[in-house]
Symmetry: D2
């Protein structure tokens, strides 16, 4: 076997590029001034150009069958877009071959106990100790030093950005979250058909959605958390409406002040003066946050709006990769 030169730095493979988040990650990397998209893989769609699947992305790369050795010969980093469970072995294989990895699945977001309680037996638990939860606003330094980053779920991203600066004040938390249909992924199903979704809204996963596990992990121990997702007739967009009962009375100015203090230096977080709409952040890596106190009850209400495929998935993954590679955090994401 002849020796293979190490791939150039900042070469990136998207492993699992045919889903919504993977394809967007490919498109973002493709346009990124300091990253080179050197491979994009897919199983069922191998051989097709990503442009056929997602003309709007203009990523223009032929999807190839996932071959980890071939990928490792060309890419020094990978973003993995596999379903949870399927991701862990692929990530393990890439890590063995020395690639830095950002994983879009849930497989490395949680500790083993929590993962196995919410999901299934873990197939690469030995990697969990070194995996970092990829929310840059709260784990920036750890991400910068990590070789494996678990990109957060879309719901937790919004809910954590809304509530983390305030959770210490609260005795409980309710997250009423609303997501567009792209959050359900690309696989066709009756529940995500146009005729099912249009002119409709309903809750799902009411008795325990898996994304709650990430809130439990990232927010203060012991905070009771209710998390209820709803499916909306929109494509991309996610709004988390969060209700916190304050331990001590607090006023709207204090709430706004805490949010400003947390986020005024953050490049992707806008603390805004009114409840944000998801259209405000569509197709961007931004999160718009607004917090206030309801005068009659004193309850804190905080909203966070994101694009579930950008800040809730592919955009945030590239944000983490920028940090891991020592690039400017916002590069390729403006």
């Amino acid at each position: 076997m002849r020796s293979v030169p190490d791939p150039a730095p900042n070469t990136v493979a998207i492993v699992g590029a045919s889903g919504f988040a993977g394809a967007l990650a490919a498109a973002i990397v493709r346009r990124h001034p300091s990253l080179a998209l050197v491979a994009a893989t897919a199983r069922a769609d191998a051989g097709r150009n990503l442009d056929e699947l997602y003309p709007r992305h203009r990523a223009d790369i032929v999807l190839e069958h996932p071959d980890l050795d071939a990928i490792a010969g060309r890419a020094s980093s990978a973003i993995v877009g596999y379903p949870h469970g399927a991701s862990a072995p692929v990530v393990a294989g890439l890590r063995e071959r020395g690639l830095r990895v950002v994983d879009l699945s849930a497989d490395f977001r949680l500790g083993r106990e929590a993962y196995e309680r919410y999901y299934q037996p873990h197939e690469a638990p030995e990697l969990l100790a070194d995996a970092v939860y990829g929310l840059p606003e709260f784990h920036r330094e750890a991400i910068a030093e990590a070789e494996l980053v678990a990109s957060p779920g879309c719901y937790p991203t919004a809910a954590l950005l809304a509530t983390a600066p305030l959770a210490g004040l609260a005795t409980d938390l309710i997250v009423d979250a609303k997501s567009g249909a792209s959050g359900a992924g690309r696989t066709a199903s009756e529940s995500t058909q146009f005729v099912t979704v249009t002119e409709n809204v309903s809750a799902y996963g009411v008795e325990g959605h898996r994304h709650r596990s990430e809130l439990e992990q990232e927010l203060p121990d012991g905070l009771p958390i209710t998390f209820t997702p709803h499916l909306l007739p929109i494509d991309q967009g996610l709004l988390a409406s969060c209700y916190l009962t304050p331990r001590e009375p607090v006023d709207a100015g204090t709430v706004a002040g805490l949010l400003h203090e947390a986020y005024d230096d953050e490049p992707f977080i806008d603390v805004v003066d009114a409840p944000p709409g998801v259209r405000d952040v569509r197709d961007t890596n931004r999160c718009a946050v607004h917090g206030t106190v309801e005068p009659a009850t004193g309850r804190i209400i905080v909203f966070a709006a994101i694009d579930n495929l950008w800040k809730g998935a592919a955009g945030q993954a590239v944000q983490a990769l920028n940090l891991m590679l020592g690039l400017p955090e916002t590069e390729g994401l403006q």
Copy 2:
């Protein structure tokens, strides 16, 4: 002045028929087997057939300028579809002329003090003592004896149907409500333009929406109530997602049992086994209710889905009118 014979019983005028709720009320009365639609009024649109404004309703009645004497000569009952504030004097005029009235506005839903706190000075406070809050499921007998019924707001209808059977168990209540754009009424505005609403969702009225007053009035004294409405990219449909903290631990079976106990004999309320979608009740006078308990926190979660123009406005008004006139409650509403 020559004597005018009393109008026949069950003759109905829609006073203010050009808005969404008034027009639908006209259409329902028009098809009602025991009611006769004898007049429909509008100010700006007088002279036009209601079919031109709402072809789908097929109400086929020429809108006339509102002339209370002319109305009183033909109709023994009226449904009033004026904006709050404008409604009170019209209702007073109709009552003086002896008509039974169902008012779609907020003007007679609250006591004077609450009304003036949430809205404006009341222009017909002398009528408040005899006005009945028109939620048949909780005030059926009083409605049957009333001559003036205030039809509830769309948000309170859903929120009360979801929570009234359970509120006694709770120490607080959060209502995260989602409504289609028809709830904002017919007047064109930038905030209800297609391009503003589509692919969007946001909260509004966060620091105190007027509809909270009805929840305060109808639910147990002292229950802290947070109420947050959201605008969705749908036409007709309203979902109330309600969160109650139980005083004592309660299980899902108990919650479902209380809902079934309250509603199994109700002709328009369906207690269902999963979170309802608003499409399930579109264009009907039904309300679908589902309640459960989140295992991790013990919090009660209850959903109610209605069509905001039917059970949330015009359908419920006809339901009340049926009761007032001694007709079968469901007549004309199936």
Copy 3:
């Protein structure tokens, strides 16, 4: 084998009730004052109540496995909701057992030659001679005497209602048709996912959609017909925009006059004064038609708007069944 009494007249089975058109047919028959819904069948969904699949329809009937003998023991008529190709043998079996049949598929709409050119080898060609094309406005008497009616396709229904009264004047015809996603049926596919359809529009079947065969059959021989369907981000609704080049100059009044002459006595066709929207006829068996002449070129433009599931499928099927059974044509469809 013991003798079985003939089923009562006006007993109806829906054979293939789990698709959109079949389910709606079940719901319409269920509420029909003179018809009795005695069976509804489905293969994959047998054992489930139709209400679980389509809560809004409130058809409340348990789906059973299709057993033609069992159906024939209870029903004197059937509406068949199978895909083309699969329908012919089922229809043949029902006809052998003496049932009157309205078939929603394409299998009996065309002559054998045309069918086999556009579709596939025909499995019950012996029935074609007696099958009647079920567009009541043009084949009312034949339908009334038929025992097998082929309900027209949704696109041809709109295009024929728009153009049949005018086609004799024309040297060519272009139909630019726009349909909601329910026209594609219930089977989940990537092309009918919410995220594919929302905020989008595109043509399909450009080089020869099968529905053109029905236009060729029903319109004058030799008229060149271009037919282009488009998929719109709506649920139910179909608009046919039809362009006819007149042989001799014709004015808008003549066009409108021909439409009025053809349709003023038709219970479900409204000749209207402006281009109709599909919302005007949503959830009804109506068709709104508007015709004019473009002043600059003299070209005739005619629009027809229908609900593709009602007048374009299930509603029209019941309209035909009413005729076959000697019932008032509009019964159960108002």
Copy 4:
């Protein structure tokens, strides 16, 4: 009056920046690497930041009252976003002050006779002789030398890109065009309310839409043109479905060949292999074109999909401005 130094080259004012197209033009110029956005004006919204009106654009410029002298002191070019009729005097004022102008209105698209026939008396006819119709694909050189460019209408842009390479073969043309609601502009009206537009489609302007004038001007003399616009329940996006009757028989390969010949070197036009969807070009300056021949009739069918606010308005205006200023044509538009 003191002498004012000429503003720097490539300084741009958006005059009339509060409408959809003007605001997008501001956003594009703001991010353009070689242009400087030095002013954005609005009448009713003066004093507000454009970000308040259109958070997603992130144009971040305070709208000022339109003062032509003040603008001329800072900007060497302007894009004007006024309604037709109101635009001509503003453009004249800017031209007097020496600015290069791209006008988004119809005021300088047509000759005087055609303008006054389709619109109204022209208020600056002396400028018409030097105005250039700003469709770069057909008038690139003239645009590069022009000081006043009239940016084409959204419908003509799509229809011309679809048909201009083929119109010489044809004896007539029908354009059945479908546009999203943003094409109607920002002013709130009942016809563009969410509840009017959603789940609907209808034609309008059937007896003579003004945009036909641009097709008449740009296509071969004497070609009979039927143009019918439809309003769709989408935000941004426009599809022109065009039907041409060929003088001599032509095959699909020839049609595709002519399109490729015309557009393969065009940076913004993609000749694609299947009917395009408007989502494919959303939020881009691209136009996707597909042409074929219907086998049965030999009719040519060509589709063009654009984003009506980009290639149909603001993007195309910047494309023209790039040419006028000697910048790379695609700069700031990728």
